[in-house]
Each structure stands twice: as structure tokens, then as C-alpha cells.
């Protein structure tokens, strides 16, 4: 994968396949520790301890177990090659938590890439699910919740082109805000 945002899109598809009603994605950077944490958490059908071990093994895949494949191994590799790690916690009937830590000063750190595009695609292609997206650098954190958006939109779907366009611009603006360190009180 050329960007970590593509790994996130891929891993989040597993949550969709696991019938999760709520999927949380967080991308948090700690500039002091030079670490990036990426988490994908869902309340889907979960996995058994054996399945959790198996998803880390790319050569385990068979066609009958469709959702296990290269997704987790690639994400794990991206984290480990920076000196970081990947952790999966899962419980049948409760959900799955995938968390990866990256060392951002490593030469092998893959850029985050277009995370806004990943989030927008997940939101607009899966309007029957709820998403919470958190993006932050140190203490500056921005959160987007589809439940909040749906409360405003009512019967107008998130996939409506004018709505998607607004979400896209909103995500970009908020992300830029956090990256640039602009303060909200200057309005």
C-alpha cells in the first residue's frame, strides 16, 4: 500500500463485513514521542482467539474465510518496519479492536496520505452504518460523527452529492486546521 490511509480503508472493510453498526477510526499523532497511533474499532461479530492469530498470517487464507487475507499482514508490516507494532483484540459477539503504532521518524514510515478520502468513502458508501472519526496531533483533536450529521440531515442521505461534497470540504478544512495548528478562538 502506498499510503496508510489505504490500509485503513482496507481494514475498515473487515468491520463492514463483520456487520458492525458502529465503526470508530482514530489517527493520533504524538510529535514529542514521534509516534502515530491508528486505531480501527468496531462492535461487529468479532473473532475467536484462533481467528485473531490466523488473520496475522498471510498464508493462512483460504477462499472460505474470505475476510482474512493480506489486509492485516500488510498493515502489520507497515507498522513493524518503522519499529512500531500492531495489536488486535477481539471477542465473539462484542467486536474487534485493531491498533497500530508507527514510529514517525523511521525512514520506513509510510505517509498517512489522503485519510479524508478514506473516511468520506467509508461514510458515503455505507450509509447504514455509523462512523466516528478522530484525527489529532498532540492536544488538537477533531471528531466527526455520522450520528450527529444524520441528526441534522434527517431523510437526506449522506451519499447525496451536495452532502458528500460538504463532508469532503469539512474534513479537509478541519484536518488542515489541526495540521496548521490554527486556533479556534480566532473567529
Amino acid at each position: 500500500m502506498r499510503e496508510l490511509s489505504l490500509n485503513v480503508l482496507d481494514i475498515a472493510q473487515n468491520s463492514i463485513s463483520a456487520d458492525a453498526p458502529l465503526i470508530e477510526i482514530e489517527v493520533l499523532e504524538n510529535t514529542e514521542k514521534k509516534e502515530l497511533l491508528i486505531g480501527i474499532y468496531d462492535n461487529g461479530k468479532g473473532m475467536t482467539p484462533e481467528q485473531v492469530e490466523n488473520v496475522k498470517d498471510p498464508f493462512f487464507t483460504t477462499r472460505t474465510t474470505r475476510k482474512v487475507g493480506m489486509g492485516i499482514p500488510l498493515f502489520k508490516l507497515a507498522a513493524e518496519q518503522t519499529g512500531g507494532h500492531l495489536n488486535i483484540e477481539s471477542e465473539v459477539g462484542k467486536g474487534t479492536r485493531v491498533q497500530a503504532v508507527f514510529k514517525t521518524d523511521s525512514i520506513d514510515f509510510t505517509p498517512i496520505g489522503d485519510m479524508e478520502s478514506t473516511v468520506l468513502m467509508l461514510i458515503t458508501m455505507n450509509t447504514d452504518r455509523e462512523f466516528i472519526y478522530r484525527f489529532g496531533i498532540d492536544e488538537r483533536i477533531f471528531t466527526l460523527s455520522t450520528q450527529e450529521l444524520k441528526a441534522i440531515l434527517g431523510d437526506v442521505p449522506l451519499s447525496e452529492p451536495s452532502v458528500s461534497m460538504w463532508i469532503k470540504e469539512y474534513l479537509e478544512e478541519q484536518t488542515q486546521n489541526i495540521r496548521g495548528g490554527m486556533l479556534n478562538e480566532i473567529t
Binding site: M1, L6, L9, D10, Q13, S17, R66, G69, M70, G71, L74, S117, T118, M121, T124, M125, L149, I152, L153, G154, D155, V156, E160, P161, S162, V163, S164, M165, W166, E169, Y170, E173, T187
Partner: protein, 124 residues
């Protein structure tokens, strides 16, 4: 800054135009393979390009959606077009640059872009 008030105005406008769209019957489905293989090969910009092109042309009755692995990972990104009463058309090795042509010729005018189909590209 984008505000939630702005979103309310968009909602009201969308509601007004949504009623125009009702009762148009079965439509064309554009499906993009978005498994690990598709994503790694560049399916995300292809899907985005279809969404944008369909929105730009204001096409009603056309839906863009995603699916899992289509089974020919080496030919990803793969896009399938399902039109009512017609055979499925499968496009392979897609890039965002191919999208406007496929929307114009195939989706709007009903003529598949043969050079990009699986039949033209995959030779034994």
C-alpha cells in the same frame, strides 16, 4: 469555516431536488472492487472519479457502489457495470482517466468502451 448551519441549508436544498428524482424505475449500477487487491491497485481514486462524474452530470438513476474481491486480482482495479436488460460489462486495469469516457459513452449513451473491457485486455 464550514458550519453545521451550512449543512442545514444544503439539506433543505437537497430535499427539494430529491422529490424530482422519484419514480424513475430500475437504474444502472456501477460496482468497483474494493478488497485489499483493488485498493492496493488504485481502486479508491477510480471509485471517487465515478462518484464525481455521476454527480457532475447530475445523472439520476445511476448508483456507484463497492464490492469485495472480484477474483482476478492481477487485473484490478476492476469495475462492473450492470444495466437493466443488458449483459454485465467488466472493465479491468482502470484508472481515473478512463472514467469520463466510460460515463459519457457507456453510462449515458449505452456504448461500452470495448478497449477497456476484460474481453479486450485478457488474452490467453
Amino acid at each position: 469555516m464550514k458550519s453545521l448551519e451550512e449543512l442545514m441549508a444544503i439539506r433543505d436544498k437537497a430535499r427539494a431536488s430529491m422529490t424530482d428524482r422519484e419514480g424513475t424505475g430500475e437504474g444502472i449500477r456501477i460496482v468497483v472492487g474494493m478488497a485489499t487487491c483493488g485498493i492496493a491497485a488504485g481502486a479508491r481514486p477510480v471509485l471517487n472519479a465515478f462518484v464525481e462524474e455521476v454527480a457532475k452530470r447530475g445523472l439520476k438513476n445511476v448508483t456507484v457502489s463497492q464490492t469485495g474481491c472480484i477474483g482476478m486480482c492481477q487485473y484490478e482495479p476492476i469495475v462492473e457495470v450492470f444495466a437493466p436488460g443488458k449483459e454485465k460489462v467488466t472493465y479491468v486495469k482502470m484508472s481515473p482517466e478512463n472514467v469520463p469516457e466510460i460515463v459519457a459513452n457507456h453510462i449515458v449513451n449505452g456504448n461500452p468502451v470495448v478497449e477497456k473491457t476484460v474481453g479486450a485486455i485478457v488474452k490467453n
